[in-house]
Each structure stands twice: as structure tokens, then as C-alpha cells.
């Protein structure tokens, strides 16, 4: 295995962005895991991709679109059914501080 590509600081940075709280042993496991993934990317990088457009998706180009027609959900109340807290039709969340 080559040198580590991912540092423990990067793992902590990414887990904070993802709002994940990781125990120290989890951090190390994930770091090693991400290292392996990047190792695989290195493998892919050995391929010559000159003249190949960056591709995020395969299949037919172009997406199906819908007409601009209103089809409101028959039971919007159901959308709030699992809300931990609500008030007057709103979702209630801890106070947001700018």
C-alpha cells in the first residue's frame, strides 16, 4: 500500500461537514477505507482517457421532462405525520440562530 492519502484531520473535517460524530477507532477505520477508495481511483487513473468527455452518467442523453401541471398531493397532512414536533401546520425545530 502506498502512503496514506487521507489524514485524520481530513476525516474529522468531512465528518463534521456530514454532521457525523465518530469515535477515534471509527475515525481510523474510515480513514483506511477512504484510502483504499482513493487507491482504486489511482488504478482507474492509469487508463488513458484523452479525448473522453467527463461522464457522470451513462445511457441515453437528455432527460424526460414533465408538463407544467399541478398535481398536489391529496393528503399534505400526511407529510407532517412523522414530524417530531409541529405547530399550526408548521414543522417545529430548535431555534435557528444566524
Amino acid at each position: 500500500m502506498a502512503l496514506s492519502k487521507i489524514t485524520p484531520e481530513q476525516v474529522r473535517h468531512v465528518s463534521l461537514l456530514a454532521r457525523l460524530s465518530l469515535a477515534p477507532d471509527e475515525e481510523e477505520r474510515i480513514r483506511a477505507n477512504m484510502d483504499e477508495i482513493l487507491g482504486y481511483i489511482d488504478k482507474l487513473n492509469e487508463l488513458n482517457t484523452d479525448g473522453v468527455e467527463p461522464t457522470a452518467q451513462v445511457g441515453d442523453p437528455g432527460m424526460a421532462m414533465r408538463d407544467d401541471v399541478v398535481t398536489n398531493h391529496p393528503d399534505p397532512e400526511a407529510m407532517l405525520a412523522n414530524a417530531p414536533a409541529r405547530e399550526r401546520g408548521y414543522f417545529k425545530v430548535p431555534k435557528i440562530i444566524e
Binding site: 405547530e87 399550526r88 401546520g89 431555534k95
Partner: protein, 477 residues
């Protein structure tokens, strides 16, 4: 060193709702003003397992916007996920466009007397709006009716140099969006929002200074005030030897000042990546051609035409063309009138006044353009006086009756019968012998008095021009 040694460098990011009936990726209504969480479904609530399906009309309106702003329309563009956590964002990412927006480049030409001033655009891209947070004393409430409403973000180059110019750019952009039917441009309802990037530099410098971003601006006046305030603040910081910090400010409309926002952690680490649930958006050339051929005349072209063809002033042209409805109405009044200015004045004063006073669009507040034309034709042909036309117009707004019927009903037709007017003049001259003597003795000012007396005798309906002619002759005696 004075403030004059500095110049402001300003770029604007405008977010505007597109006028679709349904949301960008689901069939929920975009109607404003519904009860909380009534226009919501599993897609715009970010429930697991749902898939977005793009609204074709939103794409068409974005292309329309791009064509109106002289952009290059990308035949192929990509949707990306912008990831951040906030209670109004149920998926924890916003579907937006990052590296390959639907429109690139372009420019907006600002109105003005001098050489045309262009503000270049960086891009226009499509994205979905977030929900709305309402802050209470001990909690926040979230309404997702706005979640997934289609937006375009229009990003300008830092080509703007003053608060006034920023205001002119925003007004022009809003007028264009309204003309093409892409947006209603209502800032107070949040359907047209603006973030401002401001920096200052010494005049003549080629490098940009450190910029701050101002958010939370929901009126043109606030945009202008916030820029003025922020430019002055930055110059003061630099003049006192400090450095401008790159930060985000919020505009506080009560205190009329900007203040730094508590920095959100990693605010700029959005980890964009292509939205795996949406294939690339392909806009076929036929769609672009069809939209291009359906574009209406834009405000700038209309202004130029009005100034050229009707000889109206920049101010008059501005009032008439600010809203497409006003300009369309004006043009519908015009045919057959000798003088375009008659119609222009009438629309600018009477028609806009009844529309403003009633808070209704012209189509509902004012009589049909053809009836106003008929009324103005009577003024031009001296069948009624301008004042009588105003009386008739007010009555027509209420009754919905035609110009002919109203003028007849109210007995507003002007008397031009020389015999009748001459008789009235004789009566006045006989009754006011003393004043006639004074007039003939050199008190020219009394002429107006005699005209008034004759008009009174005629019940206000005599043609003033005819009175003038006859009185002059008779008084010359």
C-alpha cells in the same frame, strides 16, 4: 485622502422565481400565500426513495431569460447537488447547476441618456428554492411550500460601480423578466431577491479589493442603501489602516446598516457533484429557435422606438415602458390620434392614476383602450374640452359605459356655435361696462376675466378657443 479617490466594484446575484404553475421537480403548486405545508409532497419534502422529474416549462423560461439577456444557451447542461444542512432544506442538498449552467455570458444594457452602459453576466442557472423559516421566541417554524419552487440565479460580472447603477441594473432586469413572462419580479414577496458583492479599490487600480457579501435585501431601496453604507464602511476601514475582512453581512432595515453574520461553519464547502438522479439536460436547437421567435419586444427596444417615433422624453418613455401592460395599453390607444403625446400624457396621468389608486391592473381599472382613444379623438376634434374628457373618463371607469354614451349622458359636448358664443360675449360686455372701459384703457390682464364670465354664462361648455377669438374682436370694439 478623500472618498473620491476610491471606486466601488459591485456584482449582483439575483434569484428570481420562474412563473410556472408547478414546482421544478414535482407537481406541487407554486401558489404564494397558501397555509403552511399545503403545497408539499414526498419529492419536495425529501422523503426517501423519491425521484425528481424536471418541469419543461421551467427550462423554457430559463432559456427565455437567457435569450433576453443575450446569453449563450448551453445545448447540454448538468444539474448538481449543493450540500449543506439547514432546517429549510429537507434533502440536505439543493439541486442546482454548478460547472455547466444552462446559460453563459450575456449582458444587460442599462437605460440612460449617454452611451449605453453594459453590465456583463457570468451565467444564469436553474435551481430549486428552499423552504421558509419563521423564527419564534424559543423555536423556529418551517414551511415547505416554497421548497422546490423553480428559480433562476442571474450572476453579474463585477461591472457595477455605484449604488445607483446597481438599482438601475435591478430595475432593468426586473422589467425584462416581466416583459418575457419569466417572473413577476415581486421583491416584497421574495420572488425576486438580491445578494450583493461589494469591494472598493483606489481609482485606477486593476486589482480587486477584498469583497463582502450582503444578503437579506428585499427592496431596491435597501439594495442601494446597503451598498452606500457598505462602500463607506470599507473606505473607512482602509483609510484608518485596517483591512476589509471577507465576510457575509446581513442588511438590517431598521438600523439601516449592515452587520456581519455569524459565520456559518464551512459555509463555502458545498461539495457539489453531479445529481445522479437527473441525466444531462439537453436543450434541442428547435426549442431554442421556437423560444427565440416568440420573444416580445424588450424594454430597451421599446424605449428606443418610443423616443424615435413619438418624440417622447426619456422620463416619459421610462414611465410608459416600465410595465409591459402600460406600454401595450398606450399603443392600443394610439391608432388614429394626431398626436402621440396626447395619448402618452393621458396614459401617464389618468390611466396610471386610476390603476395605482385602485391597486388593480390597468385592464381592470381603466376603460378599454379603444374607448379612451374615442374620448381623446373628441378632444382633438374639439368636440369636448380636456377637462370634460377627465370628467367623462372618471365616469367611464365607474360605469363601464362607452365614451360616446358618457359624453352624451353628462352633456359634456363642447359648444362651438359662434352665434351662441357671440351672444354670451355681448351680454358680458354689456354687464361689465366699467371693466370693459378699463380693458380698453390698457388693462390687458382683464381679458382672462371676460373669458371666465363668458364660460360661466355658457355653463362651462363653450369652446375656449372660439370665445377667445370672438371676445378679442368685440373688445377691440
Amino acid at each position: 485622502m478623500s472618498h473620491d479617490a476610491y471606486e466601488a466594484v459591485i456584482g449582483l446575484e439575483v434569484h428570481t422565481h420562474l412563473l410556472t404553475r408547478s414546482k421544478l421537480f414535482c407537481g406541487c403548486s407554486t401558489e404564494f400565500g397558501r397555509g403552511p405545508n399545503e403545497n408539499v409532497c414526498p419529492v419536495c419534502m425529501g422523503m426517501p426513495g423519491v425521484l425528481p422529474v424536471l418541469n419543461r416549462h421551467a427550462v423554457e423560461l430559463a432559456v427565455r431569460t437567457g435569450i433576453a439577456a443575450n446569453c449563450e444557451i448551453a445545448p447540454r447542461s448538468i444539474f448538481d447537488r449543493k450540500s449543506y444542512f439547514y432546517p429549510d432544506l429537507p434533502k440536505n442538498y439543493q439541486i442546482s447547476q454548478y460547472e455547466t449552467p444552462i446559460c453563459k455570458g450575456g449582458y444587460i444594457e442599462l437605460p440612460g441618456d449617454g452611451a449605453a452602459r453594459r453590465v456583463r453576466l457570468v451565467r444564469i442557472h436553474i435551481e430549486e428554492d428552499a423552504g421558509k423559516n419563521i423564527h419564534e421566541a424559543n423555536s423556529s417554524l418551517v414551511d415547505f411550500n416554497r421548497s422546490g419552487v423553480p428559480l433562476v440565479e442571474i450572476v453579474s460580472e463585477p461591472d457595477i460601480r455605484s449604488a445607483e447603477e446597481a438599482g438601475a441594473y435591478l430595475r432593468e432586469l426586473r422589467d425584462i423578466l416581466r416583459y418575457i413572462g419569466a417572473s413577476d419580479g415581486r421583491m416584497e414577496e421574495g420572488s425576486f431577491r438580491c445578494d450583493v458583492n461589494v469591494s472598493v479599490r483606489k481609482k485606477g487600480a486593476s486589482e480587486y479589493g477584498v469583497k463582502t457579501e450582503i444578503k437579506n435585501l428585499n427592496s431596491f431601496r435597501f439594495v442601494e442603501k446597503a451598498i452606500e453604507h457598505e462602500v463607506a464602511r470599507q473606505i473607512e476601514v482602509l483609510e484608518s489602516g485596517g483591512k476589509v475582512a471577507q465576510e457575509t453581512h446581513l442588511w438590517d432595515p431598521d438600523r439601516e446598516e449592515t452587520r456581519p453574520m455569524r459565520s456559518k461553519e464551512f459555509a463555502n464547502d458545498y461539495r457539489y457533484f453531479p445529481e445522479p438522479d437527473l441525466p444531462p439536460l439537453v436543450v434541442p436547437p428547435e426549442m431554442i429557435d421556437a423560444i427565440r421567435s416568440s420573444m416580445p419586444e424588450l424594454p430597451a427596444a421599446r424605449r428606443a422606438r418610443y423616443a424615435r417615433d413619438y418624440g417622447l422624453s426619456a422620463y416619459e418613455v421610462g414611465v410608459l415602458t416600465a410595465e409591459k401592460d402600460t406600454a401595450d395599453y398606450f399603443e392600443a390607444v394610439l391608432p388614429g390620434l394626431k398626436n402621440a403625446r396626447t395619448a402618452a400624457n393621458w396614459v401617464m396621468t389618468e390611466v396610471l392614476r386610476v390603476s395605482n389608486e385602485s391597486g388593480k391592473p390597468i385592464a381592470q381599472a381603466a376603460p378599454p383602450a379603444s374607448e379612451v382613444r374615442a374620448l381623446l379623438k373628441m378632444v382633438e376634434d374639439q368636440q369636448i374640452s380636456l377637462n370634460a374628457a377627465k370628467t367623462a373618463f372618471a365616469a367611464m371607469c365607474k360605469s363601464g359605459k362607452s365614451a360616446d354614451a358618457t359624453v352624451a349622458e353628462l352633456g359634456l359636448a363642447q359648444v362651438s356655435d359662434e352665434g351662441a358664443i357671440a351672444a354670451a360675449c355681448d351680454k358680458v360686455i354689456a354687464a361689465e361696462a366699467g371693466k370693459v372701459a378699463e380693458y380698453r384703457g390698457g388693462r390687458d390682464k382683464l381679458f382672462g376675466f371676460f373669458v371666465g364670465q363668458v364660460m360661466k354664462a355658457m355653463g362651462g361648455k363653450a369652446n375656449p378657443k372660439v370665445i377667445n377669438e370672438i371676445l378679442k374682436k368685440k373688445l377691440a370694439g
